[in-house]
Symmetry: C2
Subunit: 192 residues, 2 copies
Amino acid sequence: MNHHDQLLKHISKFSALTNEDELLLTSKFRYKLVEKKDFLLQEGQVCNHYYFVLTGCLRFYKIINTGFEQILQFGIPNWWMSDYLSINNQRPSGYYIQAVEKTEVLVLTRYDADELFNEILAFNSYFRLMMQKAYTASLKKIELMLCESAEDRYLQFTTGFPEFVQLIPQYMLASFLGFTPQFLSGLRSKKL
Amino acid sequence: MNHHDQLLKHISKFSALTNEDELLLTSKFRYKLVEKKDFLLQEGQVCNHYYFVLTGCLRFYKIINTGFEQILQFGIPNWWMSDYLSINNQRPSGYYIQAVEKTEVLVLTRYDADELFNEILAFNSYFRLMMQKAYTASLKKIELMLCESAEDRYLQFTTGFPEFVQLIPQYMLASFLGFTPQFLSGLRSKKL
């Protein structure tokens, strides 16, 4: 399967593309291999790209005053990643997007995305559903943070995404779930 | 301004509608007055509507095991409200949507929404941007929950949305921010 096929296959799960749509779409996406720890966005830059993750894993984080890296989102295969605030208002981002491991992405510029949104109704629908999905996932995370104990949150996460827990370093998982690495390590030994 | 004009004005901030689009759109939205404490959705029901808030305020919440009402979202004027998970997968909702005070909404059925998304590219774009906005707002909330002290979270919220803090009962604001009402009351007297 070539790189664009993975994207087209994913879109087709949600929205019907014509052959003409597919040709226009694939002409706009550029393949990029991102080495581990390389950045796609850094604080202070204006975000001008949407990224579709093919393989690997990205993290979206900010550095808070204490120097701590607070992870807000991971980008796993078939997930979209961007700073949607910065790309929309064209102001400098307060976030970093970095490869957790060697990661393959398809890159779409803001300019080309606007063209695709205007030309292809099915792509517009697909992206609307992706944003809706990301929104419901983040509401669910807020619910877990407000309603569940730290231990239950960890259990729900490890049960729901077992491969993911294998993939990413423990200190990143701890940051994402709002734990200290020590607390997470305590939970893990308790579980084992 | 009639009820539909408020919606059309809001859409036009993000996306250009033709006269024909406007006619089709307005034919699909039904006005509804929701009395204080009346429900638009209850746990166990399949969600089949999108709501656009004209005036007043809705709350989206779930009842957790202890009987506590955990508020996850408020719907204020020009905000969309639905259970986007239930409306998409057509499974029973785990949530309630209730009017905090007398509230006016425009109601769009799932069926009509699908027709509008297929017929009007500009409406599709508008709704994509609304979902993106809701997603970035919820990511920001996660960031505040993970990075800021309870006191700073409260200050950011009251500074950012002063009218809102006047509007809704304190115990609901406490639930939304993840505080106990006692804790919030302590913060408020400290601030005064």
